[in-house]
Symmetry: C2
DNA sequence: ATTGGCACTCAAAGGGCAAGACTGCTAAGT
DNA sequence: ACTTAGCAGTCTTGCCCTTTGAGTGCCAAT
């Protein structure tokens, strides 16, 4: 077991290091904090922390720097999440103030979060996992083309243009639409695929091709992988902290370019007691992100999580502030969506 | 007037510098090219080019580097745009192969362009400037909420949820919808605002509030600023070329974060004889992009330009290849859209 | 107009040196 | 058993100096 004072020393090291970006030494620790013991004693504690791999010296005669493990302990036990300042709250009130559609809300959220934290903010579009079909529309938009519109009860709309390859039969389209509506409206998206199997058999053979085209388009829209989409903001903040990324932003930017990677990562993360999931440095499996920390928190609609909001920055980040910012944005998003 | 051979020397300097990233000296020039004259003669030519501010020496005893003005002359007169290799062509054939909706097409285009050039690719969403209203739908999605759907003849769909604040009167909604349709379908988006002025007067007073809400939502959707949207890909390529950006990516990433800046920039650029617009270094007004070159080319639908596709990279880039890649993507996009 | 030759300039790289920051250890004190 | 002062030892950082080499600019000769 690590004695109380040693933990205090770790806390102090993390805080000082986050602030100063300098390896912190025993002398500056006793100057800046009231431990009531001498630098030599602190050095003993530091030796202990080093044995535990919680801190690490870049070289023999340098101060100490927290390891990923050290940050982890800090996040789990030593920090207190600080509430937002009133100035910060106004930022969020603002982005919620006027009613806006989903795109607008998410885009404001991601921008606010990035500005507030000076990190890269990530917002995932709500999954349609539990959504239900609200409306299916088929509209002729040209002689041989149909526009398929699928509206969900979470007010998302998806569309697809279908090239029929033959003239649109308006009467037939109307019939097709009402049959589809009857079969799908009110049903969860996840069940659409099952429900449509065999659908084609209810039609005359000569219409089969057209029906199949429409059904395929519908299935494609419902396919969950199409829903996965994220918004990013504040990439420039990475450049401001370049030194924290071992001098090269390349792997981090690569991970960000590959949104699939981020989506996978977000999906893996489970909120902890604070309502925020934290992956520190090498804890996250993506090689390029070994110098980065990712925070994530789920936001909800109708009581169940529908997507994540997250933050990406160097492991040397202000955990208290950022954790509370991510949590706040998740809450505000939950609220904003419930108003729709 | 600059003599022919001096221009050849400039061409050689640009090509060598692009390839090697080293200031190029007179000796290496005569070694790598067949000028038929000695290094001393080349030095005279270089002195001339320097007088014309076409090249510049980083320091007294270094080789020469093209200035922005030098690149400009190169682009305008000295390069020949090289056609795509067949491998490159297949990349584009691929992204066009299977029919896909607009989002998918643009997203593939931007990714292909960035992979092909190793630069940051930019694709602007088609403007709705000349688009016409194809369908207006009003759908009740909850007791007090309407979903407004606006479809254009370019098959773009926009939606907005309207909170009425009172129970939806289905009959009234149907009437409202048919009146809106009668008034707007087939009309250009730009005229919607005019056509709707006074629209509210055709309704009973007690419905006025609801009508106004719907009209406002519609006007908001039609507002041109909402259409402006871009896709980016390949940001990591900036980090690969970090040295070319005077060591700091910060201003470039900031410009990219501020998509408004990019949109404004793209709007300013007019295609030249090659069908591609080129802004080199300080030619573009954005301060942060003084080390960057932007290429842009318009893509069309029904014969008129609807948006731009572009490329952003260091001024030290392979102009021939990149110009032809941008042009190719613009053409492919034009083709892809005509298939919809 | 071109060329060989040469003096000159300057950045980059490397070595050596001093300063400074910290640690780790030891021996003594509480 | 814990704490502390003191000190030797280590290693980075910054600085200055020198050397090296690439490249120029100019001049006089062709």
């Amino acid at each position: 077991m690590i004695p109380e004072r040693s933990l205090e020393v770790l806390r102090a090291i993390v805080n000082d290091y986050i602030e100063s970006n300098e390896p912190v030494g025993s002398k500056s620790l006793v100057e800046r904090h009231q431990f009531g013991v001498s630098a030599a004693t602190i050095r003993n504690d530091m030796a202990l922390l080093e044995d535990e791999k919680l801190i690490h010296a870049p070289h023999t005669s340098a101060g100490r720097v927290p390891t990923d493990k050290g940050y982890r302990l800090f996040v789990d036990q030593l920090q207190q999440v600080k509430p937002l300042s009133s100035a910060e709250k106004t930022v969020f009130e603002n982005f919620l103030s006027d009613s806006a559609d989903l795109d607008e809300t998410l885009s404001r959220a991601v921008r606010s979060l990035s500005q507030l934290t000076n990190q890269v903010a990530i917002v995932q579009y709500p999954s349609l996992g539990k959504a239900k079909v609200a409306t299916v529309e088929l509209i002729a938009v040209a002689d041989t083309r149909l526009l398929l519109i699928l509206v969900t009860d979470s007010a998302r709309v998806q569309q697809h243009v279908i090239e029929l390859g033959q003239l649109v039969d308006l009467e037939f389209v109307t019939e097709l639409k009402s049959r589809l509506s009857a079969m799908l409206v009110g049903q969860p998206l996840t069940s659409v695929s099952d429900r449509l199997s065999g659908f084609i058999q209810g039609f005359q053979l000569d219409k089969g091709v057209q029906v199949q085209l429409v059904v395929d388009a519908l299935l494609d829209q419902v396919d969950s992988s199409r829903q996965e989409k994220i918004l990013l903001a504040g990439t420039a903040n990475l450049a401001r902290r370049e030194a924290d990324f071992a001098g090269s932003l390349l792997p981090v930017l690569e991970a960000i370019d590959e949104q699939v990677v981020l989506l996978k990562l977000l999906a893996e993360m489970q909120d902890d007691a604070n309502g925020v999931a934290v992956r520190i440095g090498t804890e996250n499996s993506v090689a390029g992100l070994s110098g980065a920390t990712i925070l994530a928190s789920g936001y909800e609609n109708q009581g169940s999580e529908i997507a994540k909001v997250g933050l990406l920055g160097p492991t040397r980040m202000n955990y208290s502030q950022n954790i509370s910012a991510v949590r706040a944005v998740a809450r505000y998003l939950t609220r904003a969506l419930s108003n729709q």
